[in-house]
Amino acid sequence: MLEVMDLKKKFKQTLAVDGVNLYLEQGEIVGLLGPNGAGKSTTISMISSLIAPTSGDVRYFNESIVKKPQKLREHLGVVPQEIALYENLTGRENLQFFGKIYKIDKNQLAQKIEEVLDIIGLKEKQNALVKTFSGGMKRRLNIGVALLHEPTLIFMDEPTVGIDPQSRNYILETVKRLNKEKNITILYTSHYMEEVEYLCDRIYIMDQGHIIAAGSKDEIKHILSAEQTILIEAEDIKRDWIKLLENHPSVNKLTAQDKRLTLLVPKEMDFFQTVIETANETNTVLKSVQIQTPTLEDVFLHLTGRALRD
């Protein structure tokens, strides 16, 4: 359906996207993961034809959209990370405005608006000004606008940033439903690994302008099949102790957050003993030690050296 080939974008001296290759098959949900500044948004802007690539190509059903984006745009809905709405218009007026610029017939538009309001659950608040909406309601309307013209392909750029868990769940369910019921293909970026794990069939991991890993959830996790994750909680995490663990030859990755440490070590190795010994050496009081099978977050950490939300 959509193929991205060796896409590059250079802004003055900065190479924001460096040779990205990816594809989307009809009806799948694909996750695009990466820390801030990885080049995700620039990639999405190029794929959605908003900015021209420095080199490379984007093909929609085998036709390049770089110079002729009209066909893709007819079938594409984009949910930007920002609340791209008019705050001084009501929810319904926003939908009416975007429906009209999508040239949806007047009679059809009224029906489409009703449908969209049903999907995003904003029927009761449709006549309130957007500026009076909660963060979750704005996010839902942000999605609703992208659904008006019945797209077959939707790019969602962090659609759940900064909202309460209830709204987040609602959005995730909506995305899942859109994919299942309407067979809409979705490219989904998020900082929340659990969202990607829940929604996506395949995943691309991006860092510093490159795709550094790609595959199904299981394939990605398999990258860490030879490793295990050890979660440690201590009364106080001392620098000496972190240094000792970091310098240990079996520790592939280490992250410290508050009073917790996450270590990636070889699977077959019994690392418990080492943890206890080094803790004693540095007078660290341990509260708990757990071994986990790798998560996508661990894979991300392994590949980029950073937590997803860094």
């Binding site: 908003l50 001084n88 975007f98 040239k103």
Partner: protein, 418 residues
């Protein structure tokens, strides 16, 4: 495609209380304040001036005219001609007409107080600047003027006008009144001699000439500021639209519009049209309100509408340039600079704050959209026709063209960082 953009801009503008106040309430409040703080400079075309005019006669009109009548009686003329001349002479009392029927007329008596002074007092009065102006009537003035007018004999005598230099407006008015008075006295007498016309010049004729000779425009201060404030505040449409467009860009709404297969040029045209229509609506509301509240009416409504429409299109063009600059520099600064600085400079140069006396500033001001619009509106208020405002309309047209070209060149192209 463009209409939804225009409709949306109107909705946004109406719901934006801050800008709504700035664009509609502020100019009217300012006109109110100015009206009640400085009052009307001109009322019904006549300036509100309290001036005292002294008239010093070095002659006696009755004696002059009697002497001439006696001379004519002794002339070897047919009796019928003599009777006609004497009858004409009986109505010919130029000094009385000047004092009573012109300066003392109903329309001018509130403007000028006329006092008679003896010729010996003239020098002292000049030194003391006791009077706003002194008119000296030379010896045998009526005698000479009648002779020159009726028989075309001898030179036409001149009145001497001394004015206090601090009273520019009075000076100009008096000079014009006297100029027209002398001319009218001479020509109407000639007409009378030929059996046509009335012997005294009408005040309307004099007033009509005052307007064209001295360029004292019969525009009330209320009219002045209604026009001045309206053409100034209409410029804020450009900065407001620039800000709205910047928000659309910042919040990625613009990208959504592009993704709906709306070309950026359609969006651009939509912004120009929306700004022009908003500017036109603003002008109509302000001027409409002024008709009802301040009584500022337009003698030629079509001419007025044409100027308003052209000025609105120029404002639309300026708005497009501000939008382009905001997009190019990815900030709202262009709107801020235009709204906070450039509008004020334009308003000063164009004369929105007060009438500009400097010729150079006037010239520059006429090349600002508000200045050109203001001059055209004033000419229309005074009853001038299209011929008199062609220059201003051309300035507005040229400004629109140049500014739109600049806006198109500045607007970022696809692929540029915008």
């Amino acid at each position: 495609m463009i209409w939804p953009i225009i409709k949306k801009q109107f909705r946004l503008m109406v719901r934006d209380r801050t800008n709504f106040t700035l664009l509609l309430v502020m100019p009217l409040v300012l006109v109110f304040i100015i009206k009640f703080s400085i009052g009307d400079l001109m009322t019904q075309g006549i300036p509100e001036i309290d001036a005292t005019i002294a008239i010093a006669e070095h002659t006696e009109e009755e004696a002059d005219l009697t002497q001439l009548a006696n001379e004519w009686e002794e002339q070897p003329l047919p009796e019928e001609a003599k009777t006609q001349l004497v009858q004409g002479l009986n109505q010919f009392q130029p000094i009385r007409i000047l004092k009573e029927e012109i300066l003392g007329s109903e329309e001018l008596q509130d403007v000028f107080a006329v006092v008679d002074i003896a010729p010996e007092e003239v020098e002292a009065a000049k030194k003391e600047e006791k009077y706003t102006a002194i008119i000296e009537v030379p010896e045998q003035f009526s005698y000479q003027l009648a002779k020159s007018s009726f028989l075309n004999e001898g030179d036409t005598p001149q009145l001497t006008l001394f004015v206090n230099k601090s009273e520019d407006l009075v000076t100009e008015m008096l000079q014009d009144i006297l100029l027209v008075y002398e001319e009218e006295m001479r020509t109407t007498t000639v007409l009378e001699r030929n059996g046509v016309g009335d012997l005294k010049p009408s005040l309307e004729e004099i007033r009509g000439d005052i307007v064209s000779v001295s360029m004292v425009e019969p525009i009330t201060s209320t009219s002045y500021y209604v026009v001045g404030m309206s053409v100034m505040f209409v410029l804020y449409i450009a900065s407001t639209m620039g800000s709205y467009a910047y928000l659309e860009k910042r919040d990625h709404v613009f990208e959504r519009i592009l993704l709906a297969n709306v070309s950026k040029w359609r969006y651009f045209v939509g912004m120009v049209l929306a700004s022009s229509l908003l500017a036109f609506t603003q002008l109509m509301i302000l001027f409409g309100f002024s008709v009802v509240v301040f009584g500022v009416t337009w003698p030629n409504i079509w001419q007025f509408l044409l100027i308003a429409a052209l000025l609105s299109i120029t404002v639309g063009a300026i708005a497009s340039l501000v939008v382009s600059l905001n997009y190019r520099f990815q900030s709202e600064k262009s709107s801020t600079v235009f709204g906070n600085a450039i509008v004020t400079v334009f308003a000063f140069l164009g004369g929105s704050f007060y009438p500009i006396k400097s010729d150079i500033i006037n010239l520059i001001g006429n090349f600002t959209p508000n200045g050109a619009g203001m001059t055209a509106f004033f000419a229309t208020l005074q009853g001038y026709g299209m011929n008199e405002i062609v220059d201003e309309l051309m300035v507005l047209g040229a400004l629109t063209f140049v500014v739109i070209i600049a806006a198109v060149l500045v607007f970022p192209k696809r692929g540029e960082q915008s």
